[in-house]
């Protein structure tokens, strides 16, 4: 055995991780650093990017009302989408978990499967449903619920509905994972001691799956805040979010330094929200179990 261990250390871990490390330094660290530096440069419509350094781009984003609206819209939408995903995804995961096979695995496939289908395709489906003569308006008018077509395309309601559809599988899977650790005996114990179904749900099930809901919320929030395809297709030019704004600065206006500043702010906001959320939750659970 001693020989075996001696042999294995012939290939040190640093050598094994060297390819990945090199690739990441060259292709992740360097580009990110360059974008960070670029965000301090200035831009001129005629001469292009100038290699001087100032906070002008950040000040422009922080002071301009136009950008305030975009950032507020993006994070407001992320909050609403996350809440709806939690309210729909968590009960659905619970219901799926109580089903018997083959229904259980069939419906799990139906809920998780869309994750493998391109976001462009899923968003196209909603664009078709939202149209003036689309299925939603046809149904609503057929039932006599509305007199004229409801405008959903190019509205934030439409974008939110489609984003919930794109991201709710992450919530289901996250809650599903924590339900697998739940001991069904605890539920039966609650019921046999005379608690109502609702009390068992509230006092036994919900507290145990809460970590799943919280980690699912984090994924949904981060992905909504940086979503591009769905708001670009369903929101159009007028309903801009941070990601589509950065895209426009890069590929239409060609003001790369300003686009870089917007991208860095998005990244910073995401990282700050994710880490502080994690910290609050860890603290909460440390208190509960400590």
């Amino acid at each position: 055995m001693a020989e075996a261990i001696a042999r294995r250390t012939l290939i040190p871990p640093y050598l094994l991780s060297a390819p990945a490390l090199l690739l990441y330094c060259a292709l992740l660290l360097t580009p990110m650093l360059m974008t960070f530096l670029l965000s301090f440069n200035s831009f001129d419509l005629y001469t292009g990017i100038k290699p001087d350094y100032s906070l002008a781009n950040y000040l422009e984003v922080i002071q301009d009302k136009y950008f305030h609206v975009i950032f507020l819209r993006t994070f407001g939408m992320a909050l609403v989408v996350t809440l709806i995903c939690a309210l729909l995804g968590a009960p659905e995961a619970y219901i799926l978990n109580r089903m018997a096979n083959p229904w259980k695995s069939l419906f799990l496939l139906a809920v998780l499967g869309p994750l493998l289908i391109s976001v462009v395709v899923r968003t196209l489906g909603w664009a078709l449903l939202f149209g003036k003569e689309g299925a939603i308006n046809m149904t609503l008018m057929g039932l006599g619920l509305v007199d004229e077509p409801v405008k959903l395309i190019f509205t934030s309601t439409g974008v939110v509905i489609a984003l919930v559809h794109v991201l709710v599988p992450f919530m289901v899977i996250s809650v599903w994972a924590s339900l697998q650790k739940l001991d069904p005996a605890t539920e039966r114990a609650g019921l046999s001691l005379g608690a109502s179904q609702f009390t068992v749900l509230r006092r036994v099930v919900v507290p145990q799956v809460m970590p799943g809901v919280l980690s699912g919320s984090l994924i949904v929030f981060a992905l909504t805040a940086s979503a591009f395809a769905t708001p670009a297709i369903l929101g159009g030019r007028r309903l801009k979010v941070v990601a589509t704004t950065a895209y426009d600065e890069y590929l239409n206006t060609l003001n790369w330094p300003l686009g870089a500043a917007i991208a860095i702010l998005l990244l910073a906001a995401n990282v700050i929200i994710i880490t502080s959320y994690n910290r609050v939750i860890e603290k909460k659970y440390a208190e509960a179990f400590g």
Binding site: E3, A4, L10, P12, P13, L16, S17, P19, A20, L21, L23, Y24, L27, T30, P31, T35, P91, E92, I95, R98, V111, L112, G113, P114, L115, L116, I117, S118, V119, V120, V121, R122, L124, G125, W126, A127, L128, L129, A135, V168, F170, I173, S174, A177, Q197, L223, S226, A229, A232, I233, A243, A246, Y247, Y250, L251, A260, A263, L266, L267, N270
Partner: protein, 265 residues
């Protein structure tokens, strides 16, 4: 286990309808016989599926996406395997930092990666090239590949390896004849997940792809922002059919829930 009540079943039905409605609508519109977006009320027609084949733009973009996904998934796996062995088998200073670093692309919004790659490739002269595109995809799909390979290496018993070493096998022989065959399921799962992630990627690729390296999602996105017609619906329907077949195979092999935990778009 207690059964779901009627309210739960109504909720469940509504949820499933919500999940499937947009996909079903795309598939129905794809079979229309008319020249505009409409339901196939006058019988099913394959007209718009034939139209895909007459559209070399989409075919080229599809082949590019296929080629790109195969190349980048293979590179990502080739790099993930040694990195996973290092992380799972050794205790060394910086191990936790390495792991966090290798998984970090999951935390970065794709639009931020896109603008960073665009700037970087322009500066180093790789802008618009296939090499640049493939390398940028490797970064995006590495975390998925790494996580699955890492999981299979971590769960591995080392008895067979120790036996081979004590019988005089070299490091390389042990890896090739014992370790590698044992982690093939993890490698295959990681490759497929990396392949799908690369094939579907839009937000980052929009910045990096040039007219000669345009991928299918970017081509479709550009088409949709200009016009929504039955052609794009039939193309999407074709993609849905292929994905469903893929999905059923994956579900049989691994269980979709295990494969997808924590996947990002």
């Amino acid at each position: 286990m207690s059964k779901n009540g009627p309210i739960a079943l109504i909720f469940h039905t509504a949820f499933i309808v919500f999940m499937l409605a947009p996909l079903v609508v795309v598939c129905l519109v794809a079979f229309t016989s008319k020249g505009y977006i409409s339901m196939p009320t006058e019988g099913f027609s394959l007209r718009w599926f034939r139209a895909i084949l007459e559209n070399p733009d989409f075919i080229d973009a599809f082949l590019m996406s296929l080629y790109l996904a195969i190349v980048s998934a293979s590179i990502a796996l080739a790099i993930s395997v040694p990195a996973s062995l290092a992380i799972a088998r050794h205790r060394f200073p910086g191990r936790a930092a390495f792991t966090a670093f290798f998984l970090s692309p999951l935390m970065i919004p794709h639009v931020v990666l896109g603008v960073s790659f665009l700037r970087f490739f322009t500066e180093v002269g790789l802008s618009g090239t296939f090499v640049g595109l493939a390398l940028s995809h490797v970064i995006i799909i590495m975390p998925y590949a790494l996580r699955l390979v890492l999981a299979s290496v971590t769960g591995l018993s080392r008895d067979a390896e120790s036996a081979a070493v004590s019988l005089g096998a070299s490091n390389w022989t042990v890896f090739r004849r014992i370790t590698l065959p044992l982690i093939v399921p993890g490698i295959a799962g990681g490759w497929v997940l990396a392949f799908i992630t690369s094939f579907d990627e839009l937000t980052m690729t929009v910045f990096v792809a040039s007219p000669s390296t345009i991928t299918l999602p970017v081509r479709m996105y550009n088409h949709i922002t200009e016009t929504i017609d039955p052609l794009i619906a039939s193309l999407s329907a074709a993609l849905i059919f292929v994905t469903v077949i893929f999905m059923v195979i994956l579900d049989r092999l691994y269980g979709l829930d295990k494969l997808l935990v924590g996947r990002g778009t």
